[in-house]
Each structure stands twice: as structure tokens, then as C-alpha cells.
């Protein structure tokens, strides 16, 4: 009987295509659609911060260089992972991540909570030549990041695009994107105060690459690495294995 039905189906190309679409759609619809409607998918937390323009630019460098190919940002709910890297990752922590960077491979360690674990200076030395601080490392060197000025003029359009996909940047943030990026990496400048006003007192303002007069790609990447895991404290309140929040002063 089944075979007879199939013999008919095999005689019509369009019918066959429709059957394929039907069979193939079910799984995706059942698994993906509810993720947008069920409240429990993403936790509701009060203190979730946005990436500053400098951190977002750093995130884009992380993407551009393919860091996600070797570093995950997703601590699983397993004892050894929680003990090695910190509290397991919550959905809310990547709520504003377009795209998510959970990763699929750990040639290097997980970075979900690397923020605040090392000093800015360590990060710069490590990125300049990883083997200077970790002799056994096989990570590529990124010395040229410190020599490359960060493009600031288009950061406003980046924030605007982020807003159009759902990240709640305000008009004021968009307008001041380039100023804020500069101010975050140049602590003595007049622009520096605006960053903490707009993005919260927790925001780290620092001469990340050690040079407090200009903004390089190294500044942006280190700023991003330092904020990883520190946009909200929810994970520290919400886990079976509570841990101390890393000390934000380096």
C-alpha cells in the first residue's frame, strides 16, 4: 500500500518537492518557534548591561579574527567546567549577542568568564605574542592589532544596525558612539565621563593597550575580553555552585 502511494508520488516532481518541504519543516518548527514564546527560555534580569561601542568594536574584531573557532563562550552545567571556568552560562548573558559566540571547539580555554581574570597588561602581552606568557601556547600572535587604529567614524551605524535587530541602544548612545569609544580607551579625556553615564558605573574605562592617547584595535579587543561574563551578575546568584564575582579592579 505504502509502496503504491509512493509510486504515485514519484511521478510528479512538484508533488515530491512539496512532500520534502513538509517532512523537513516539522522538526525546525517544533524546536525553534517555541523558543521565541516561552518565557523560561531567557531569564529576566535587572542588571543586564549593553556592550559599549568600544566593546562592540572589540567583539567584531573577535569575530573577524575567527577567535570563536578555538574558544567557546559557553560554560556547560558540568561540575568540572564550573570549577574550571566559573558558574555555568545563562541564556540571558548572550541575550544581546548578534550573533552568539558560544563556539563549538576548545583548542584554547573557554572565555565566557575571562573578564577581570587577567590584567589589561597581561592581555596585551598575550595577544602580542602568546608564547611570551604561555610558552606552550599554539595561539597565533596578534601584535599588529596594537599598530592598527580603530575605525571610529561608523560606530554609530553599527549601533543603529544593532538596534534594528533588537538591542535597546538609545538615540543618545548612537549619537555619541564614536565619542564614547574614544573616551573609554582614553581615561583622562573629557569624553571618558559620558561612557559611564550612558553604559553604567560598572563600565571599565582604561587605557587598555597601555597607550592613553589613541584608540587601537588592541584597545577594543581587550575591552571586549574584559567585559566577558560581566554584563550581569545573574549567573553568580543563580547557580548550584556559587562563586565570587571576579574583582573588577586590575
Amino acid at each position: 500500500m505504502r509502496e503504491l502511494i509512493h509510486r504515485k508520488l514519484e511521478r510528479t516532481a512538484i508533488g515530491f518537492v512539496l512532500a520534502i518541504i513538509l517532512a523537513a519543516s516539522v522538526g525546525g518548527i517544533v524546536e525553534i518557534a517555541p523558543l521565541f514564546t516561552i518565557d523560561e527560555t531567557v531569564e529576566d534580569v535587572e542588571d543586564m548591561r549593553l556592550y559599549t561601542p568600544l566593546e562592540l568594536a572589540g567583539r567584531n574584531i573577535y569575530i573577524r579574527e575567527g577567535c570563536y573557532a578555538c574558544h567557546s563562550q559557553m560554560i556547560r552545567t558540568l561540575r568540572d567546567e564550573v570549577e574550571r571556568y566559573g558558574p555555568f552560562s545563562l541564556a540571558v548573558e548572550s541575550k544581546y549577542d548578534h550573533p552568539m559566540l558560544w563556539g563549538s571547539k576548545r583548542t584554547g580555554p573557554d572565555l565566557a568568564r575571562v573578564g577581570g581574570k587577567y590584567s589589561d597588561f597581561w592581555h596585551v602581552a598575550h595577544l602580542t605574542n602568546p608564547r611570551d606568557v604561555v610558552p606552550e601556547s599554539n595561539m597565533p600572535a596578534y601584535a599588529w592589532l596594537a599598530r592598527t587604529p580603530l575605525r571610529l567614524d561608523d560606530l554609530g551605524s553599527h549601533l543603529e544596525a544593532q538596534r534594528s535587530v533588537g538591542v535597546p541602544y538609545t538615540d543618545e548612545m548612537i549619537e555619541n558612539a564614536a565619542r564614547d569609544a574614544f573616551g573609554q580607551a582614553v581615561p583622562d579625556s573629557e569624553q571618558a565621563s559620558g561612557v559611564t553615564e550612558r553604559y553604567g558605573e560598572e563600565t571599565q574605562v582604561s587605557a587598555f593597550d597601555g597607550v592613553a592617547t589613541r584608540v587601537t584595535e588592541m584597545d577594543a579587543l581587550v575591552a571586549y575580553l574584559q567585559v566577558l561574563g560581566r554584563l550581569t551578575k545573574a549567573a553568580y546568584q543563580n547557580t548550584a555552585a556559587p562563586e565570587q564575582v571576579p574583582d573588577p579592579t586590575n
Binding site: R11, G28, S72, W144
Partner: protein, 551 residues
């Protein structure tokens, strides 16, 4: 292109002119951005093809009798594209593998650092090598099994050259740092849009050719090619919904975020494995295996069972990439359940293939080409078993994030996808160039053993390193503290990274041998007298006159 009519050449020239203008617009809008470089690439690509078209536009009109023959010219070009991308993609792969063992091999340049060449490797082999092989063989198989000529003369060229433009944009983009970071879908928004246009053309061409068939039934291989074309379109569009920063920026932000993005990404990622790397290549298996073995497919019912099983089950399995993460638990469990059930249709396919060889095993011994196909079916069975196994949560807790996953992928990619492709190419090349045989059977044999040894060395190295890595991460001392630092586990990996690069190198050498052998076949092997019956059927068959697959 000698078979194109004047009108078709004019149309092609018009399309290329429009494309050249798009290239100029991209170059102008993106002058401070990598987009500008891609504008120049599009412009040069369209001008080069325009030159090709124009230089032949005053040639003699095509032979009117061409309509009574199969249209094999695009397939021949597709074979060269396939061979080129194989060597390119595998070379980058070996290089990337070597960088993991010797990190200074990027020579401190940005474009050659691991994070940038890794997607160039995956895109080069999956989309460049695999995709061109699928397009070329699908044009061959759909004509032969439908006993009809391709429905159109221009669109096959559009599909082939358009698709390769996508691959070029993708790969050159990664070297410049243009990437969405979505695994196996790294290409940015404009390349993705272009691929949609190409893919819709491909779909229409395929359906129109099937509509011309002189066989009442659509042969199994075509079911798989159709599933490949249709589902890849759905996956590609949904995964790549994105908002560009501006029309002058290559960079875009995906509309999906966080946990939803992870699910969409792996729904795409796992089904790229299913419908690109499995369905498409099963189509090759269902045509070239019975052809080469000269045996009919063992069971028609098993074919139906495995086809619909794969089409239905695979789409549920993507969430097994996200075990123990912030994805809701019920989705993880669904993914695991369906991944385990997938073993049934997968082994039905592999079993169907191996049982087809009953009565032809002496040919497997003597004919290296058939051995390629047999070994591919074997590795298909092996890696689908491994896939279901790794999808089980406790197993995944050990294997995830380690090299075991990489080993699993390469058991499939080298052992299944590449072996079935070369087996198919060695069958296809003498057939469409009308040569009596391959240039050298000995070189096919050499290639087989290089490929087989390379795959085995690679997969064993990654099994070892992956399991060691996973165990070291979770080993505790008697005091209840973690026994190893992360760096300890990295140090343990170095010998395996060297072994893996060596295995990959053997496989790459095999690909070079294959290219040489095919090149010499086209150049040097005497032509065969017109193959009896290798022409389309002129008039429609009466309903029900033939029920079996063609040829």
C-alpha cells in the same frame, strides 16, 4: 560554450554587464571597506566572462542536432572547478592543521592566521569542492535518469559560474576578515543574497529538466538531489537573515540573538551536514554505484525508508550540538532522541549500498573506482553510527569541544564525501569525455590507498587527542581538585596535531594525483566510438512503458 545560440550569448552578455555594474556600485559604496575589494572582484569576474562570451560571439552557429544529445559542456567545466577547489581547500586544511602544531606558520600575517584560514578551508572543501561536485554530477544524473537534455542552455552556466562567484567571494572575504562567524555560513549578506539568486535558478532548471523526462518515475538519485536543493535553500535563507550596517559595509548583524541564534545556527549547521553533505552525496551513490557495479540497487523499499527517514529526522537533530548549554533542556532531549533514531535510515542507506555489491565483490577487489564507492558507503555507515553515539548526552559531555568532533567530521568528510566524489568522478569523466578508460588505473589505485591511509591516520589521531583532552579536563585528584590545567591538555595534543597534519597531507597528495590522472585522461586517452544509447529519448514514451530507472 560553443553550443550557445546568438540570442543566448547576447543574454549572457547582458547579465554579465548588469553584474559588472553591480560590481562598480559595490566598489564605490564600499571604498573604505572590504566591500569595495569585493566590488572589484565581482567586476573583474564578470569582465573576464564577458571577454570569453564576446570572443566566441562571432563563431559559427551551433549545430542544430545538439538538441538530440545530452548537454555535457557545463559538467566538464564543473569537474575542473571541483578538482581545483579540492586542491585549494585541502591545501588550506593541511596548512591550518600545521599551524596548530607550529603556530609560527602564519608568518605573523593577519590574513594567514588560523582564525581566518579555517573558514577558507571549510568553505573551500564543503562548498567549493563538494558543491561543484554536486552541481556537476546532478547535471549528469538528471539527464541520464530522465533520458532528457537539460531544459535550458544558459542557466546551467549561470548556476555554475554564479555558484563559483559565491565561493570566491566567501573565501577571499575570510582572508580579509569578512565573516558572519556562523559556522559553515560565514559569508556575508551580499554573497548570501547572490547565492539565493543562483540557487533559485538551479532549482528551476532542475525541476524543468525533470518535467521533460521520458521516464514515468523519478529515479531515487533525483529525490536526493531535490531534497538537497530545496532544503539547503530553506536553511540558507533562515540562517542568514541579517541587517547590514549600511549598503557600504560588508559587516552585518544577524536578526537572531543568543539562545535562539544558537538553535538556528545548529539547525542550519547540522542540516548542512544532512542535506548538503549527506543527501547530495547519497544521490551520487544511488547513481554511480549501480552504474559502476553493474548491479541494480538492492532494495527499492529500503531506498524509500531511508530517504524519508533522513528528510524527516535530520531536521530535529541540530540541538545535539548544544547539550548542557543554556538551550532549554527539552530541546536538547528532542535533538538527542532524533539523532539516535537517525541511525535507522542512515544504516538502511549504507546497508542498501553494500548489499548492492553482492555478486560484484570481485569487482571491488579489481576496480579501485568501485572500491572508492564501497569504502565511502562503509565510512558513511561508520560516521553515522558515531554521530548518533556522540549525540547521546553523557557521551557528548566528554566529546563536545574536543578534537573528537573534528575527527568525526573528517571521517564523514574524507571517508564519505570525498571518497564517493572521487569514485563518481572516475566513473563520470570517461563517460562525458567519451574516453574508453581512465588514463591510468594504477594511479587510481595509488589515489585510493593515499586517501584511505590519510583518512585513517587523521581519524585515529583525532579520536586519541579528543578522548585524552576530554578525560584530562574532567580528571580530579584524590583531594577533589582538577588534576590538569588547560595548558597540560594542550601540551598532550601536539603529537596528534602533527599526525593529523600528516594524514591530511596524504589525502591532499591523493587529490593532486587524481587531478593529474583526469587531466591526462581528457588529453591523452583515445576517444571511444559514440556510446551506444547515450542520447536522450526523442519522443515521449507511452505511459507505463518503462518503470525501472533509466540506464
Amino acid at each position: 560554450m560553443g553550443q550557445l545560440t546568438t540570442r543566448e550569448r547576447d543574454l549572457a552578455a547582458a547579465i554579465l554587464l548588469v553584474l559588472a555594474i553591480v560590481g562598480i556600485a559595490m566598489a564605490a559604496a564600499g571604498q573604505f571597506d572590504p566591500l569595495g575589494v569585493h566590488g572589484a572582484v565581482v567586476l573583474l569576474y564578470s569582465l573576464a566572462l564577458l571577454y570569453l562570451i564576446m570572443s566566441s560571439s562571432f563563431g559559427p552557429p551551433p549545430d542544430p542536432s545538439r538538441i538530440s544529445r545530452y548537454y555535457d559542456d557545463p559538467i566538464k567545466v564543473g569537474v575542473w572547478f571541483t578538482l581545483f577547489w579540492a586542491i585549494f581547500g585541502m591545501f588550506i586544511g593541511v596548512w591550518a592543521a600545521a599551524q596548530l602544531a607550529w603556530p609560527s606558520l602564519n608568518f605573523d600575517t593577519a590574513w594567514a592566521s588560523f582564525g581566518r584560514i579555517r573558514p577558507a578551508h571549510t568553505t573551500g572543501v564543503i562548498f567549493g569542492f563538494g558543491g561543484n561536485a554536486l552541481i556537476a554530477t546532478s547535471f549528469h544524473v538528471v539527464q541520464r535518469t530522465s533520458r532528457a537534455r537539460l531544459a535550458d542552455q544558459l542557466s546551467p552556466w549561470f548556476v555554475l559560474f554564479g555558484y563559483n562567484l559565491f565561493c570566491i567571494l566567501a573565501v577571499t572575504g575570510y582572508f580579509m576578515g569578512v565573516t558572519q562567524s556562523k559556522e559553515y555560513a560565514e559569508a556575508e549578506w551580499y554573497a548570501d543574497l547572490w547565492l539565493v539568486i543562483v540557487w533559485v535558478t538551479y532549482f528551476i532548471l532542475y525541476i524543468r529538466t525533470l518535467a521533460r523526462r521520458r521516464e514515468p518515475h523519478i529515479y531515487v538519485a533525483n529525490w536526493y538531489y531535490m531534497a538537497f536543493i530545496v532544503v539547503v535553500a530553506i536553511l540558507h535563507i533562515i540562517n542568514n537573515l541579517t541587517v547590514p550596517v549600511s549598503l557600504g559595509h560588508a559587516k552585518s548583524y544577524t536578526i537572531w540573538s543568543g539562545v535562539q541564534d544558537s538553535m538556528v545556527q545548529w539547525w542550519y549547521g547540522h542540516n548542512a551536514v544532512a542535506f548538503f553533505l549527506t543527501a547530495g552525496f547519497l544521490a551520487m551513490l544511488y547513481y554511480y554505484l549501480p552504474k559502476r557495479a553493474e548491479r541494480p540497487i538492492f532494495s527499492y523499499r529500503l531506498s524509500i525508508l531511508s530517504f524519508w527517514g533522513i528528510t524527516f529526522f535530520y531536521m530535529w537533530a541540530g540541538s545535539h550540538h548544544l547539550h548542557y548549554t543554556a538551550l532549554p533542556h527539552w530541546v536538547q532531549n528532542l535533538g538527542m532522541t532524533f539523532s539516535v533514531m537517525l541511525l535507522v535510515p542512515s544504516w538502511a542507506s549504507a546497508g542498501n549500498a553494500l548489499l548492492t555489491l553482492n555478486g560484484a565483490w570481485h569487482k571491488v577487489r579489481d576496480d579501485a573506482t568501485l572500491r572508492f564507492i564501497m569504502m565511502a558507503a562503509f565510512f558513511y555507515g561508520l560516521s553515522t553510527f558515531e554521530g548518533s553515539f556522540l549525540a547521546v548526552r553523557p557521551v557528548n559531555s566528554l566529546s563536545h569541544y574536543t578534537d573528537w568532533t573534528v575527527g568525526h567530521v573528517h571521517a564523514g568528510a574524507l571517508g564519505w564525501v570525498a571518497l564517493i566524489t572521487y569514485g563518481s568522478l572516475y566513473t563520470l569523466v570517461p563517460a562525458i569525455w567519451k574516453r574508453e578508460r581512465m588514463y591510468s588505473a594504477a594511479l587510481v589505485e595509488v589515489h585510493f590507498w593515499l586517501a584511505f591511509a590519510g583518512t585513517v591516520i587523521y581519524v585515529f589521531a583525532m579520536w586519541n587527542s579528543g578522548i585524552i583532552q576530554g578525560l584530562m579536563w574532567r580528571t580530579y585528584t584524590g583531594d577533589g581538585t582538577l588534576a590538569y590545567s588547560f595548558v597540560d591538555s594542550l601540551v598532550a595534543m601536539y603529537p596528534y596535531y602533527i599526525a593529523r597534519a600528516f594524514g591530511g597531507l596524504l589525502f591532499l597528495i591523493g587529490a593532486v594525483v587524481a587531478t593529474y590522472n583526469i587531466w591526462m585522461t581528457v588529453r591523452g586517452v583515445p576517444a571511444l566510438a559514440e556510446r551506444h544509447g547515450d542520447v536522450p529519448v526523442a519522443a515521449p514514451l507511452p505511459e507505463g512503458a518503462a518503470t525501472g530507472p533509466a540506464e
